[in-house]
Assembly symmetry: C2
Homo-oligomer: 536 residues x 2
């Protein structure tokens, strides 16, 4: 039987028009240094239409790639909606990438236009000096800076373009499977890989994370996405908050903890999302300064594993820290760790520090070495694999076949799934240590060691062992003034992990090397171990 | 540019599997008379799989229509998921229809199988006696009753079928535009018209109503859909609650107010939805009996206009009554009247009594007599028209062309849209009174007259007038023992509506005639006026 429902595609322009027309009086608050600017969705919506027309005026058409090199600003928010709504593709450049990688992805994505913040024109100029802006025809500067760029590139001022553009538009009906936005993964190996979100996936992701099972934003919320908008769609928060009519607080380039604490205290957001490092900083800051985190009904940690000890620390300030897990490849939200009602306080902490349980629209499975699906028993460790309309099925310009297993995305993460779809990540597949046929989790060893009062940083990786195939090597950095002792650390660990997990190999380093995006560089550590730089 | 996202269809089976696997320990509570039965989603999920296999065992295949003639029961819930998940079409029969109409829709939809409650076998038998079950091959009885049916129909017991069926299934991948479910409108004119929801529309509607902008269900909720499951998918609450892992309370056939008050008091639901008549009853009952409505975070009224006075009455019991507006043609939810934060208490009452503002995924416009779109100013009255993936674009077996305007569904409702997408319905288009070129709202006249302490029922409709073209005629029913006076009613009204709205024509009746589904039958009133039965 044929259904009778209307054939209406799921488009980003529909998300935009909903927020603009149903929540015209909600506000976007831009906090730049000490200046707070507040504008209604109505006014910001006007900018979106003008930007869309301005892009058309300089020749942007369906399928053209328009990149942003921007912090969390109203102009970036306008680009989030304007670019896909005219059928073009928004490419959010990760400004923390090395200029070589930036150049690579600008060329690989075929960026024709780049919208850049005044504070980032030098970053863009550095890419230009490498000769990697060859396909770029237009640069639009938000603010007053003048970039040094190859002469062939036409430079525009954002404000001037908008002033000259029409405030009226009829959005095109875009096939929902068309690309709407583009993010590149910051892979620790090889070149970054591009994920092209469709209009359909962005629309569905917005609804999925807007459910009561996830963030459940409404017009009673004031959403402060600390997570940068160049990183995995800022977890989809700008889209979801816009559709819900939540006020949106944008903190520009300011990620210092004192600044964030002040924004939370003064602007009283109900929801915020940040990496564990920033939550650690917000905890420390609040122990020495007067802050008010009481407005937060939703405090989400993501990007790296969250420890139970950090959950407990934030609880001292009345903040219930929860965890979201996602990937660039997955729009990004996969799981969210809100505790079920009736959970005991200590269980709740454990739950909150888990990756969380699967949000509507996502399917997950755990697959063993032999390719067979493992049970959801919370014990069976295997690779977590994902399927759904918000999960990528390939990469730009490559099918990335080895990243998929019968249509399911291989996350490269080792983990377990417990009853009720609670996922706990144990390790990166490539970092997991298989000792005597069983997995040792470097993530859990690192988390346990991090709780030692004298440990500043720790990285664990597997090294060859004649008897067990692999055994863990722990690289530890002492806090300033502290002296670490291997026997004491082993004793400390032995109360926290299984006996056979205890490392026999230890290295004490002045610091852990980092990748360009600030993640621990275990590849570097491995090569230092191989060439003898690390003595054990 | 081609997007890289996975091509995964939006299927009812995905909604089912999410709730079953992510929320296995949530419960379905069945309240039948004084017996409360509680079963986990895990156990109910098992029934769904067995029912799906049982239907296949008796020969049900993709596209076959499986009807239900059921109250709000676990078996009905199982059918909600089992039937569409195997690619068949669920047809929820409105058991309140006259047997002629039931026979018409059973034949029109081509029902092959009917699942019937034991308490409703006589209703089904009556349709059989009309010879209108000719296409029905199987009847599945939930419970122990034995229906008198034509000999050609095979009769099965629900419990026996499930016992014999396998508990393992692999769901087919169903094209998302395929029909998943079928509801017939209870039109006051002509034959009922069928709306066939697609898998896509049911999936999207579930997400839409699950957002924080609408009901925002989570596993902290306990959802009690008083609204019958044969009526417009019970507003989509069973699907949304299942996906969210909310406990689901099913009240079977018991719609008496004392029963409902007891369920709310004893089972402590967080959310419930019912028609204004029942809310009026719940108010009255609570004034004379000890009840506890304090568990309700969400108390939704729908199906008929909600008056501000009823909102105020429920507020006396601590219940914040909100309004949802929907139609069979629209999945159904269109608008929801949750007040924005910072609204004054009296404004909040006004808002709560409005139809509400548009939920994500729905587009609305208001169109004047000349076919031009009117502004969202809260003043310009025109027909409300709708567009979206959860809105029907036709009717089963007919394009219903006059029900559409350039792809938009014509609701047949006269209303206004205010800033922020707040819709207020003023009248049915066919009921609206055009007096001297301006609209008079019968809905508002009826609401104002209902507030008079001696008025039990009221119906207003337009009659021809030599000077103004049309003028309102008010038909009023007095409360038992009360005597109504026309002059007093006019004086009462004149403080509440514009002077030119005041009816000159009044009729005092013993009761207002009703349609088979309990709506005021204005067609009957008009004919009584024409043939002189009503004397003015």
């Amino acid at each position: 039987m044929k259904a009778t429902m209307q054939d209406v595609p799921l488009n980003v322009s529909a998300l935009f028009e909903h927020g603009r027309t149903v929540h015209p009086d909600s506000v976007v608050v831009h906090y730049d240094d000490t200046t707070v600017t507040e504008r209604t969705f109505d006014a910001v919506g006007d900018d979106v239409v003008r930007l869309a027309n301005a892009l058309r005026d300089i020749g942007v058409g369906p399928g053209d790639v328009v990149a942003t090199l921007c912090w969390n600003t109203p102009a970036h928010l306008a680009a989030y909606f304007a670019v896909p709504s005219i059928g073009a593709v928004l490419h959010t450049l990760n400004l923390r990438l090395h200029r070589d990688q930036l150049g690579y992805i600008v060329e690989h994505a075929g960026d024709r236009v780049i919208i850049v913040d005044s504070t980032l024109v030098d970053t863009l100029a550095a890419v230009g000096e490498l000769g990697r802006l060859s396909g770029v025809e237009h640069v639009i500067v938000v603010g007053t800076a003048t970039p040094r760029l190859p002469a062939a590139i036409r430079v525009h001022r954002y404000a001037d373009l908008l002033d000259a553009a029409s405030a009226e538009i009829e959005w095109p009906v875009v096939d929902e499977t068309t690309a709407a936005a583009l993010c590149y993964t910051s892979g620790t190996t090889g070149n970054p890989k591009g994920v092209a979100y469709s209009h359909r996936s962005m629309y569905l992701h917005t609804l999925q994370i807007s459910t009561g099972s996830a963030f459940g934003f409404s017009d009673a919320d004031r959403v402060f996405p600390i997570v940068p908008m160049f990183h995995a769609n800022a977890w989809g928060w700008p889209h979801a908050a816009w559709v819900a009519g939540s006020d949106i607080v944008l903190g520009d380039r300011h990620l210092r903890v004192d600044h964030l604490a002040r924004v939370i205290t003064e602007l009283r957001p109900t929801a915020t999302a940040a990496v564990p490092t920033l939550w650690t900083g917000l905890d420390t800051y609040a122990r020495e300064n007067v802050v008010d985190y009481s407005s937060l009904r939703l405090a989400v940690s993501g990007g790296s594993p969250l420890s139970a000890s950090l959950v407990r620390k934030l609880a001292d300030h009345g903040v219930t820290l929860t965890q979201g897990w996602g990937m660039t490849e997955t729009s990004p939200l996969l799981t969210f760790s809100r505790s079920e009602p009736g959970t005991s306080p200590e269980d709740a902490v454990t739950r909150q520090a888990m990756t969380g349980h699967i949000v509507p629209g996502v399917r997950a499975r755990v697959v063993g070495d032999d390719g067979a699906e493992l049970p959801w028993d919370g014990e069976s460790v295997g690779e977590i694999q994902l399927r759904g309309a918000t999960i990528t099925g390939g990469y730009v310009g490559s099918d990335g076949a080895d990243a998929f297993d019968d249509g399911w995305l291989r996350t490269g993460d080792l983990g377990v799934i417990a009853r009720g779809g609670w996922i706990a990540i144990k390790d990166r597949l490539k970092d997991g240590i298989k000792s005597g046929g069983e997995w040792i989790s470097t993530v859990e060893l690192e988390a346990a060691l991090s709780e030692h009062p004298d440990v500043a940083e720790v990285a664990v990786f597997g090294v060859a062992d004649p008897k067990w195939e692999e055994r863990p090597l722990a690289c530890v950095v002492a806090k300033p003034g502290a002296v670490l002792d291997q026997n004491e650390l082993v004793a400390f660990l032995s109360e926290r992990v299984a006996r056979w997990w205890l490392p026999e190999r230890w290295a004490f380093l002045p610091e852990i090397p980092k990748t360009t995006v600030g993640k621990m560089d275990k590849r570097q550590l491995r090569s230092w171990h191989e060439d003898g730089t690390i003595e054990v």
